[in-house]
Each structure stands twice: as C-alpha cells, then as structure tokens.
C-alpha cells in the first residue's frame, strides 16, 4: 500500500507533433462538416452566375476584360455570404451557450477559434476556385490569344480570408441574432462606399479589392493586350487584404484568457504588423498614377520589365490591302476586313495607298483634375510610312459591347475618310473634284451616303479622321459623285491611275470627271 502511494506516477507522454497535427486536422474536418459556409455556397455561386458570369460572358473574349470582371464581381458576390457565414460561426459558442464548457478544454481559445475560421475560409475558397475554373476555362476556349491573368483572380481569393476574418471577429465579440446579417451588410457597405470615395482615376481608395484599374474609366478592352498586365495595384490589394486578415485574427487573441501571455504578445504583434501592412498598402496606392497603357503604376512596386511591349504575330486579312490585328482580336478580323474591303480594293496599288492597316494600342494620359485622355499609340504609327494605324472601337473608353455590324460601321466611318484622304488628298483645302472623287469612292464602297458626314468624334472615340464632304442633292458635286460612282470599278481604277497625280495637284475640274 505504502509502496503504491510512494511510487511516482509515470509521466504522461507528451503528444508528438505529428499527433497534434492529426488532432488539428480532425478538428478541422469536424468543422468543415458542420460549417455554415457550405450552405452558403449555393447562394454565392448563384450570385456569381447572375452578376459576374453572365456579365463577363457578354464581353469580348479578352483576358483582361474577363479577369477584371471576375475580380470585381467575385469580391462583391462572395463578400456577403462569407462575412455572414463567418459571423454565424464566430457567434456559435455564445449562441449555443457552450462558451463555458469549451473554455475549460486543453486547447487555447485562440487556437480553437482559428479552426472554424479556417473551415469557413476553405469552403469559400473552394467555391470561388470552382467559379474561377469555369469562367477561365470558358474564356480559354473562346480567346484567340493570351492566357489567364492570375493577379486579379488572386486578389479576389485573398479577399475571402479577409471577409471571413471580419465576420468571424464580429461574431465572436458581438454574438447575437443580429450579428451575422449586419456583419454581412457591413462588409458589402464597406466595399460600396470605398469606391464612391474614389475621385478621378486613382486614389488611396483604389486599394479596395473590387477596383481593377483607373476607376472612372472602368476596364478597357485594349489594356494588357499590347503590353503586359501591371500587377502593381494587385500587389497593394493583396498586401491590404493579408494585413487585414492577420490583424483581425490577431485581435481574436487579445482578450484575457484567449491564450498564454506569450501567445497574446505574439497576437498583439501580428495585429500591429497587419495594421501596418494595411496602412502601407493604402499609402502606396495613393502614390499610383495611370500609366500610358491604362493601368495603375505604383512606383515602389513597379517592375520596369512590365513596360516592354508584348511580342506577337499579327493576324492579317487577305484583302487587297491587308488589315492586321493583334491576335487577341482575331475574332474581329472578318468584320473589320469586310468593312474596309470595298474601299481598299479600289485604292490598292494607287500612289499613296497604304501597304497595310495595322492595329495599334491606345495611349492613355492623365490630365489635370484626374481626367483621362486617350489617343492612338505612336509606337507603331512611327513604323513604315505605308502602314496606317488602326484602333478598333472597343479600344476606346465607353465603347460598350458592339455587334460585329456596329463595329464594322464604326470602323468604316472612322477610317474610310482617313484612308481616302491619304490617297485622294480630299479635305477642306482640296479642290471640288478631289472631294467629289473621294465621296464617289466612298459611295461606291456602299458604306456611306453622300450626306452622312460623320466625324469620328461622334463615335465617341476621338480618332483623328479626315474631314468628309457633304453634298446636297441637286448640286453639281452630288451629280458628279453619283456619276463617278456608277462607273465600273476597272474604269474608275484606270481613270485614277491616269489622273490621280493631276487630281491631287488640283488640276482636274469637276467637269473633267467621267
């Protein structure tokens, strides 16, 4: 008896690290099976389909447009379900009145709380990654060139742990039946109000994860097509979201009783570091400017290698004068070539006719007052003199989604007079005969009437097209233009080959036109 009482009890074996890991994994598995976010996934995925997928699919299959739409849309779609579900999970112990029971368990409160947060985040990420896979998969099938942009997808992914932490912390500290809905709406409200505070193209508020570029311009089709995608803003956004997540999760351990003193000190340090990252990200974004390619450049995060143009082999039409587009716009080539072909076939081979029409990028510049001006890029226009730079209507801000027919009409209206002026020399200072021949050729191309002079400014694009003549019915110019347009194409070409030099020199009168 005595021996029994004096014999020291055998030391309880300390759990091996692998065993502790297994216990954590088992706990995580239990949380995954009972997590509210699993039941929120249909809502999140439904919202994603309704507001993001449908909108993205209505856009041209250009990677930047699809990726920007994915980031903005997915963040908004998942914010409410994730924040709400996390708040619901965070308030679980209080809601089920088991806080006292779990407080006396061996595991520290902080470590215990991180598991349901992780489970909520894992479910949210799983749903989100499924959405990304579908959207990017369909885009890969449709796009003719380029590849997925992962930074925008990464920003949206990084927002999920942050929203989860936001909801979870609120649910933990303020448990009530009102917590989950109000946390969900607060998350959405924060996103909505952050973009309303952006003035102009760039501000510190652009660090909000639904912003993908200069805010007041919206995603532009030509961005990240001729030049690489600039990840500067995305890096700042990921920094903000990671900092927010760490700060919020650290805050879980700050109350007394959440863990050991050392753990609380570490948590306080993490919270401070997280807040520092948040402030740094916002400040860095505030130093950003819009670069000439329509993306936000943040000097401290910028990689100069991103300024080099992308290498690509243009796709060209087999028209009399080739029309060459960026391969990302290959699906636009038939409509563009069809729009210009009737005109190009009349001008090919004439002195001054361009050898090619080449698509170029848009150049953006930030004006005073944070406004933005767009113009044709000079980089490719400075190439061979015989190439005419072309910008598709989609490359201009506010162009919207155009049908092939609308785009063809706009391309012809914008570039037909310009190409014509280059060959015929028509314009305000030109002779009556020059303007009449130009109008006749346009008429013959069956693309525009004599009295529908449209400047490119009316297209909303700001292109620098030439003046085009307007003739009233009954005037000599009107009759001469119709007469010239009625000639067979070989006869018109033969006359132009013989008389173009004299016509451009102003030596041909209206009466001398056939």
């Amino acid at each position: 008896m005595t021996a029994a009482t004096t014999t020291p009890a055998p030391a309880r074996p300390r759990p091996a690290a692998a065993g502790a890991g297994l216990v954590t994994l088992r706990l995580l598995w239990l949380e995954l099976r009972h997590n509210a976010m699993a039941w929120m996934l249909p809502l999140a995925i439904g919202l994603f389909w309704f507001t993001t997928y449908r909108k993205d699919m209505a856009m041209p299959p250009l990677w930047y447009l699809r990726a920007a739409g994915l980031q903005s849309g997915a963040v908004l779609d998942f914010a409410i379900p994730v924040a709400g579900a996390a708040a619901w999970m965070g308030s679980r112990e209080a809601r089920r009145r088991v806080a006292d029971q779990v407080t006396i368990t061996a595991r520290a409160r902080w470590a215990r709380l991180l598991v349901p947060w992780a489970a909520t985040t894992i479910w949210a990420l799983a749903g989100y990654l499924g959405c990304v896979a579908v959207l990017y998969g369909v885009t890969a099938h449709q796009a003719s060139w380029g590849g997925p942009l992962w930074w925008p997808a990464g920003v949206a992914a990084a927002s999920l742990p942050a929203f989860s932490a936001f909801g979870f912390v609120i649910g933990t500290f303020l448990p009530s039946r009102f917590t989950a809905p109000l946390a969900a709406i607060a998350a959405f409200f924060t996103l909505a109000i952050s973009t309303n505070l952006i003035q102009g193209s760039v501000s510190s508020w652009s660090v909000a994860p639904i912003v993908t570029g200069p805010w007041d311009r919206g995603p532009q089709a030509g961005v990240a097509t001729f030049y690489p995608f600039l990840p500067d803003l995305s890096i700042a956004q990921v920094m903000l979201l990671a900092g927010l997540t760490v700060a919020l999760l650290g805050a879980l351990a700050l109350p007394a009783g959440s863990g050991s003193r050392a753990a609380r000190v570490v948590a306080a340090g993490l919270t401070g570091a997280g807040l520092l990252a948040v402030a740094t990200a916002a400040l860095l974004t505030g130093t950003g400017t819009m670069d000439s390619h329509g993306m936000i450049r943040i000097p401290a995060l910028h990689d100069a290698a991103s300024d080099q143009p992308l290498q690509f082999t243009p796709v060209c039409s087999d028209t009399a004068i080739p029309v060459c587009l960026n391969p990302a716009y290959a699906s636009y080539l038939p409509a563009t070539a069809d729009a210009l072909a009737p005109l190009l076939s009349q001008l090919a081979g004439l002195p001054g006719a361009p050898a090619r029409i080449v698509q170029v990028s848009t150049t953006y510049s930030q004006d005073a007052g944070n406004g933005v001006t767009t113009r044709t890029s000079g980089s490719r226009a400075s190439g061979p003199r015989s190439a005419i730079p072309l910008m598709l209507p989609d490359q201009f801000p506010g162009a919207g989604t155009l049908t092939p027919g609308q785009m063809a009409s706009q391309v012809f209206a914008a570039y037909g007079p310009e190409i014509m002026a280059r060959v015929i020399g028509d314009g305000p200072a030109a002779s009556q005969a020059q303007n009449t021949v130009a109008a006749a050729l346009l008429l013959a191309a069956n693309q525009r009437g004599l009295t529908t002079g449209q400047s490119s400014a009316q297209q909303g694009g700001g292109l620098d097209a030439s003046w085009s003549p307007d003739f009233a019915p009954g005037t000599p110019e009107y009759a001469a233009a119709h007469r010239f347009a009625a000639l067979p194409e070989p006869a018109r070409r033969a006359w132009l080959l013989r008389h173009l030099a004299a016509l451009r020199a102003g030596q041909i009168t209206l009466g001398q036109l056939p």
Partner: protein, 205 residues
Amino acid sequence: MTGARLVRLYAAGRRVPFAVLAIAACAIGLRIALLGHWDDYGALQLPLIFEAAAAVSVAATVPSPFGEQERVAGGWLPLLRLAVTVALTAAAIGLLSAAGAGGHLAGGVLDAARNVAGITGIGLLCGAVLGGGLSWTGPTGYLVAAIYALYTQWHPPALATPWLWPARPPHDLGGALCAGLVFACGVVVVAVRGARDRPGDPAEM
C-alpha cells in the same frame, strides 16, 4: 394589462428593442450618407443598403427562443407575430423616410417603403424555410442582385423584371405588386407557422 405584459415579454424574447435600435441606427446612417455628395451609383445604392439592413433587422426578430413549448402554449402567438412584424416594418419605413426627409433620397418615400417591405418579406420567407437564424441569407443575397440590377440601368442590357423591384422606378406598379406580394406572403407564413426551428440552434440570442 395581461395583454400588454404578453406583448412586452414577446418583444423582449424576440429582441425587438435591439431591432428598433438597429433600425434607428440604419436611419441615422442613411441621414449621414445623404449629407455626402455621391455619384449616380452611390445615390441609389447606399439607400438600398440601409433599407436592406433595416429589413434584415426586422426579419431577425422572427426566431423564437422557446421553440416547441411556446408554440404549444401560446394561443396568441400568430397575432403577436403578425402585429410585431408589421409594426417593425412600418417603423423601419417611417424612420428611413424621416431620415430622407429634406435630403436627396433617391426614389423618395415610395421607393423606401417598397424596398423595405419587399426585402423584409424575403427575410420572413427565409426564416420560415431555412430557420430564423439564417433569415438574413435571402435579403442579403437579394441586395447583391438588386445592386447589380441598378448597375445595369447604366450598363445595358438593363434588367427590367419587376421581381428586382429596387431597379424599377418608384411609381412602377409591377415592382410594387411584387414587393407587396412577397411581404404579404412572408407575413402570413411567419404569423401562421413562425420561423422554422433548427435542432442545432435551440436558443436564439
């Protein structure tokens, strides 16, 4: 006297005073928001967010903390549910309208009334189907869809279905009918059946 005590106990059990506070906070928030100068998006979206927040506060009062016992013993329960839900919705509409008085509340009182009633109806129906604790899922999801519908007013093709009533003009009959129908259905279902009791959440706080 007994009736008043019954109403007071019912209101306390459903956290009605907190709901009134939350609705008042929404009204104050809306008033503060209206002091700012918002773009077209903000002018329409921010009021809708506050309206949705007020609506989920009303719907959050539906769950019962007593469950089966109350349902068996409470003969006046359907009337209490009906009266409190309608009164809270009316209070939300009144407070939000008062907050918008003199400000630039997009859509005005009619818009606020329609949106609050309709979104509350969604919350009540969700409470009856999913359980009181999850009554917020429908209204908050609907909020995202409605915000998107408002967005499409600037970015065609516009979503014009009256079921997305926040994107319809304030005097639109179709939107008002849809919102009213949803609210009526929600009130009736909740008054008759109450929120669904979920075995895992026996005690709603």
